[in-house]
Symmetry: C2
Subunit: 126 residues, 2 copies
């Protein structure tokens, strides 16, 4: 079974290549729980289950143009690891449509039996 660090390393490698959907398909448990720091206009803070997570990722990719970004980490501690994401994006829909933004967040992942069972996103809205 892969270690927490190995799971984190794979996640970081895939995200750096822009392969977020492959990361979800290969590394996430079916009962994954994702928790945002706050709810969005069309998105609850808490999303459960692999299908809902995939839909959320598809929505994000569809609704943002990504100009660039960075993925740092992973930093492990026991069964958890942290990753930092920065993205330079333009929103394509919603209240921020047409706005170019720098997203800067950290994510805390929990691993069980070699799969990611929880992701929590940490960020500050200016």
């Amino acid at each position: 079974m892969p270690s927490t660090y190995e799971v984190g390393k794979k996640l970081v490698d895939l995200c750096r290549q822009g392969k977020h959907m492959e990361a979800i398909t290969t590394l996430y448990a079916n009962n994954i729980v994702a928790i945002e720091a706050m709810a969005g206009p069309n998105m609850p803070a808490r999303v459960e289950g692999i299908d809902a997570i995939k839909k959320k990722a598809e929505w994000w990719e569809r609704s943002h143009e990504i100009h660039g970004g960075n993925v740092d980490g992973p930093w492990p501690h026991g069964d958890r690891f942290i990753v930092r994401f920065t993205y330079d994006v333009t929103a394509k829909e919603g209240p921020m449509a047409g706005k170019r933004m720098n997203l800067d967040e950290a994510a805390l992942y929990t691993v069980k039996d070699g799969k990611i069972v929880q992701e929590e996103f940490f960020y500050h809205m200016g």
Copy 2:
């Protein structure tokens, strides 16, 4: 009472100025718990109470020469926030004495009643 983000911002500001002891004195609760990703040769992974945390910080400052560093964040989520630390240091004692090293870690803090009650350090030892 300061928000999670405000406590994190103060911690980052003080750490950027090298004022770690002032951060502990002003922002940490008396019953603070600090948990490292792993135990060190002379240091348990878990340290409890403000006096033990101060001793640990004094030991760290005494036993490392700091050439430079960066503090990024804070990224808040509810009553927790994450900070990233990178340090360019030379160990002055212990098995790594004389070795210049790049330390790269993330820390997860928990805030209660406006004070930091827990800090957990996340890192990978090569």
